[in-house]
């Protein structure tokens, strides 16, 4: 007695092949739709904003005349912001990930902490803005400075960095740890010499992607009270500043039609910054990608 009859298999074959083809086109359509939306968006922005892009646009401060408006203060402000966010969030994030993966006892408390870190990654950015306003701007009296905004952004992307770093550390084969411990290495020696070098591509990729999220965030900056029109460059982390998304938000909400084109030019600059950060992430991943 055979359970699979050759005849019924042949009879059903047609239906299976049709279903296979239908699903293939459904998924293809989904991909194309997403791609189409992106292309339309890019086309609109480039066609609107490309005319306003020039060296002057990059080197001028904001102005109430659209043809003189520039993005200098915002661009420099965003770079300052990154200089605070990158070290703060990467050091704290990788440190927490190392603790959770290598040192913490694998018990209920640890898994509770882990679960909540993943949940924090989903908290809306405006909530982090309020947290920053309460702690850094008011309680620590940092005002609407680069430092206050940087710390707030760090909190915002910390969960993403921790999760990415945890995954990268977990992906390091256990045999390498065994080999190191088996020779009398301490935990710290094993982490520095074996685990981190193997996990660094994953950690850096995750960190850079998280940083590019921070550079595009607007809500926390609005809540903190970062100004939009600034006619000077910050000279230190205690100075106030403005950032790319703030400037774009301001331009796009002005009544004059000409400022819409200026906003589009600003978006192009912001996207260029984001794209170059993501490319760095890809290059790092490819360069350090080692097989085990």
């Amino acid at each position: 007695m055979r359970y699979i009859e050759q005849q019924t298999v042949v009879k059903r074959m047609n239906g299976r092949l049709i279903a296979n083809a239908i699903f293939k086109y459904i998924f293809l359509a989904a991909t194309l739709l997403a791609l189409l939306a992106l292309v339309i968006l890019l086309y609109r922005i480039v066609s609107q904003g490309a005319g306003n892009l020039s060296i002057d646009f990059l080197t001028n401060f904001a102005s109430r005349f659209p043809d003189q408006a520039g993005i200098k203060a915002a661009l420099v402000g965003s770079l300052w912001l990154m200089m605070v966010v990158a070290p703060t969030s990467i050091i704290l994030g990788v440190g927490s990930a190392i603790y959770l993966e290598e040192y913490a006892k694998q018990n209920r408390i640890t898994s509770f902490i882990r679960m909540n870190i993943s949940n924090l990654a989903g908290v809306p950015s405006v909530v982090f803005g309020l947290l920053g306003l309460t702690i850094f701007v008011r309680a620590m009296a940092l005002g609407n400075s680069i430092l206050a905004a940087g710390f707030t952004m760090s909190l915002l992307i910390l969960p993403v960095i921790i999760v990415a770093a945890q995954e990268a550390i977990r992906a390091v084969p256990g045999e390498l740890r065994d080999a190191s411990y088996g020779m009398g290495a301490t935990k710290w020696q094993t982490i520095v010499n074996i685990i981190l070098p193997a996990a660094i591509p994953g950690i850096l990729t995750g960190s850079i992607l998280a940083l590019s999220r921070a550079i595009g965030e607007t809500a926390p900056l609005i809540v903190i009270g970062v100004p939009v029109i600034i006619q000077f460059l910050p000279e230190g982390v205690m100075d106030t500043f403005t950032a790319l998304p703030m400037q774009i938000y301001d331009w796009s909400s002005r009544p004059q039609q000409e400022f819409q084109a200026v906003a589009a030019a600003g978006i192009i600059v912001l996207m260029a910054v984001l794209l170059s950060m993501n490319s760095i992430a890809v290059i790092i991943r490819n360069k350090f990608d080692k097989r085990y």
Binding site: K105, Q106, P173, E175, L176, R177, D178, A179, S180, Y181, G182, M183, G184, A185, T186, Q189, N193, I194, P197, A198, K290, R291, Y292
Partner: protein
Amino acid sequence: MTTIITNKSASGTEADQTGKKAVYETKQLNLWYGSNHALKNIDLEIMENEVTAIIGPSGCGKSTFIKTLNRMVELVPSVKTSGEILYRGRNIFDNDYGVEELRTRVGMVFQKPNPFPKSIYDNVAYGPRIHGIKKKKILDEIVEKSLRGAAIWEEVKDRLNENAYSISGGQQQRICIARALAIEPDVILMDEPTSALDPISTLKVEELVQELKKDYSIIIVTHNMQQAARISDKTAFFLNGEVIEFDYTDTIFSNPSDKRTEDYISGRFG
């Protein structure tokens, strides 16, 4: 030389008939993974400059036992132990006995070749470096000596800076042995070191083990009974976490005293 030495308990410094000293003595060693009783009342005495083979069917606790000897088993969460393991007369479970110190004296070679994703040189120099040796000249000497000791110097001397993954699996395993030798251990634990290797590489590792026992005490877990018969001086047969028989290898394989040992080595189970 056919004295039954099973369960013989003696102090760590007492010499046997040949004048050799014990490197390891386990006394009523028990180990649990959670509620699973994996090692039961193990009493073994392992002599220096000998090859001690540990055989037994899968899941009998032989890998667990060898990993207990350098406390690597503690990397598994929820492990509990009781009893004593005396290494050179000192209980390794004592609070003031650091695992790092123990593992500097007891090298380990694993089942799967596990070189670090570094150059051959850096792999072998890893141990000395973590123990604080920084001088290039000394490191060079250790690397050469260890690679010669693992009988792989001639094959890799011109490619020391190549990644250790660029050589064959059998060569990788001998790099791992060289890496273990580089910390100048007293004992080398081998956990099925040839199970992932082809017959020719296996033969090379077996010849190497014969060579190494002049200077080191070797404890080797193996699935392969012919291998145990070929290379070991004494053999312990483990079954369900217990030592059924521990004796000279010749005796175990020609005239076992326990029926279960006989059944296992004649291939009736396992």
